[in-house]
């Protein structure tokens, strides 16, 4: 509780004492944006943690071995993530629903356990120390990035591209009848999502001093997923709210000490059951329940009828 008390009575003190928390919230918000982009185009992909890893490791390795300035490192990291996103997308985006989700999970774990843990340059199990880390300095680029990215993605959803995504999400067949090249636009969404995730990964190394494989497991992706689902995915604000809420939650429920996770779990269930459309948003989970699904449900209403 005193968490809130301080937040309102002494915001400055609150900021000073929680810079890192705020920074983390920022990172998670960016990740939420990244998963939002794929959701918005009706795809349930869970590869974000993998792209984070790529962004993070690239940044750190470059600042370890190359004289390039940090911003360049981070840029390269993000771009590399996007590039790999494209390559992964080629085979994977043909899949739908749960299958797409699981395939991307497979990618994340294969990357972490199969690749990162076996490349000497990634420091294998020990991970890598980021020489140019600066936690309190690192918060600045984050606090700048969040609003910019939010704004861009929010605009994006209102452009030709965004409307095409929405159309695909709602009904792929109808979309193609409107002349929308469905596979192409799905890929664009996937790559943008990868780019953003990679950028988030790069930013995070900046406040965390250190990258190690355990950071980029499925657990992380699932966490990002919960941001989106709990926050609601009808517009870009939803996932961000989810990220803020769930990142601050451990602090908020700190007084439950040992049983924090129990409280976390209960809250998760309550939100999903009593507000399936997420904290924010009107269309409900419709974004990840494309039309063919809802139609199928109504056909199946029998199952839930009594």
């Amino acid at each position: 509780m005193d968490f809130f008390i301080q937040l309102f009575t002494d915001p400055v003190g609150f900021y000073n004492q929680h810079e890192l928390l705020i920074a983390q919230i920022g990172i998670n918000a960016i990740l939420a944006i990244s998963i939002f982009v794929t959701f918005y185009s009706g795809q349930l992909t869970l590869a974000n943690a993998g792209f984070m890893a790529i962004g993070a490791y690239t940044t750190v390795i470059m600042s370890l071995y190359l004289p390039t300035p940090l911003p360049v490192d981070m840029l390269v990291g993000a771009l590399l993530a996007a590039a790999i996103g494209f390559l992964v997308g080629l085979p994977v985006l043909r899949l739908r629903g749960v299958f797409l989700a699981i395939a991307t999970i497979g990618f994340v774990e294969a990357l972490r356990l199969g690749v990162i843990l076996n490349l000497p340059i990634t420091g294998e199990g020990q991970g890598l120390k980021n020489p140019s880390a600066d936690p309190l300095g690192g918060i600045v680029p984050i606090l700048i990035s969040v609003p910019i990215l939010t704004y861009l993605v929010w605009r994006l959803t209102h452009t030709r591209l965004g409307q095409a995504w929405a159309a695909i999400r709602e009904d792929e067949l109808a979309a193609s009848s409107n002349g929308i090249n469905v596979p192409a636009y799905k890929m664009v969404a996937f790559v943008i999502s990868a780019l953003v995730a990679g950028y988030a990964g790069a930013l995070e190394t900046h406040i965390n001093f250190f990258v190690d494989p355990t950071e980029y497991s499925v657990t992380r992706t699932i966490q990002i997923l919960t941001f989106a689902v709990v926050g609601g995915t009808t517009n870009v604000i939803g996932p961000i709210v989810g990220a803020v809420f769930l990142t601050a939650l451990p602090e908020i429920v700190r007084q439950f000490a040992a049983y924090r996770d129990v409280v976390n779990g209960i809250i998760l269930i309550l939100v999903i059951i009593f507000r399936p459309q997420g904290i924010v948003g009107r269309g409900g989970l419709a974004i990840i329940a494309p039309r063919w699904w809802t139609r199928w449900r109504t056909r199946e209403r029998a199952a839930a009828a009594h």
């Binding site: 739908r96 989700a101 395939a103 497979g106 699932i222 049983y259 129990v262 779990g265 998760l268 839930a304």
Partner: protein, 304 residues
């Protein structure tokens, strides 16, 4: 190498036993029950606490534990799944609610230490324990340089028998038919007078009971019982297994289990250990991309 094949077959049967429950729920309800791994863990934990903390002999303890897990399955259905079905929420939200339950189950055990709220259930917090030696006799035979363990042999038999039984039930009994009917077409099933909700509940019960059994056998044979055995050791691999076998297919899950066991061991022996962990997921990835219906699956049904 022969020894390694034996190892593969054994761990394969654990995977299979775990994955069967996993895939059963997916097949019938169309949701991934991510609390399954937590039930797996509780299967081991409950048995342990009955044996080690309440001095009960192993067999009755195991039976009780399995029933408890079955009931947990019902809990999952009523708390995490049914309310969402009522709202026609998409399975993705069921994914989240089951994650929530898993979180709770694990946290409860993890935080249970002597003198705490749940000390009657568990007292070793995040630690890993084993059944007191001699809980079940475990003769170990050394044949032709091979090590064959009593418990592991037993578990192999148990899993094979159980899967045959399950296969029989699914194929030749009215309930089994009803399950398959619901899985294929809920509407048709309803029109036949099948109470779909009851089928769902019993599916969760059976699935979780199997998961619990898999868990306690795991704890018994691998001398490892901790709050994390489900989450860390089998959850994702179970996912890989049911994908390999074709999601929703029970024989697929069984074959997939053994296949994954073999793949891992082979990768381990052939390419060195550090590849092994990644292999399961590389396989999963490839199978989905190249053959989404799974290696043994017949036809892919659009899901989620």
């Amino acid at each position: 190498m022969t020894q390694q094949v034996l190892n593969a077959i054994f761990i394969g049967s654990i995977y299979a036993l775990f994955a069967v429950g996993y895939t059963l729920v997916f097949g019938v309800l169309d949701v991934l029950n991510l609390a399954h791994s937590a039930v797996f863990m509780l299967g081991a934990v409950v048995t342990y606490s009955l044996v080690a903390l309440h001095g009960m002999p192993f067999l009755p303890a195991a039976v009780i534990a399995i029933l408890v897990c079955g009931l947990l399955g019902l809990l999952i259905e009523f708390v995490a799944l049914r309310p969402l079905r009522r709202r026609n929420a998409p399975p993705i939200s069921a994914l989240i609610s089951t994650i929530g339950l898993a979180l709770i189950f694990v946290a409860i055990v993890e935080q249970a230490t002597s003198g705490s709220l749940f000390s009657w259930l568990w007292q070793d917090g995040a630690n890993s324990v084993r059944f007191p030696t001699g809980t079940v006799p475990n003769p170990t035979f050394h044949v032709a340089g091979l090590t064959i363990e009593g418990t592991k042999l037993g578990i192999l038999v148990i899993s094979v028998v159980l899967m045959l039984v399950l296969g029989y039930v699914m194929r030749f009994t009215q309930v089994g038919r009803a399950l398959r009917a619901v899985a294929e077409n809920r509407r048709a099933a309803t029109l036949l007078g099948i109470n779909v909700d009851r089928i769902f509940a019993s599916t969760l019960f059976v699935s979780s009971a199997l998961g619990g059994l898999a868990g306690l056998l795991f704890g018994l044979a691998l001398s490892d019982i901790s709050p994390y055995i489900g989450r860390d050791q089998v959850e994702l691999k179970g996912l890989a297994v049911i994908v390999l076998g074709g999601m929703g297919s029970i024989p697929g899950a069984v074959l997939g289990g053994y296949l994954l066991g073999l793949i891992e061991v082979f990768a381990f022996v052939r390419f060195g250990s550090n590849i092994e962990a990644g292999v399961a997921f590389a396989a999963l990835f490839l199978v989905l991309v190249l053959r989404p219906q799974g290696l043994f699956g017949a036809r892919l049904r659009e899901r989620l």
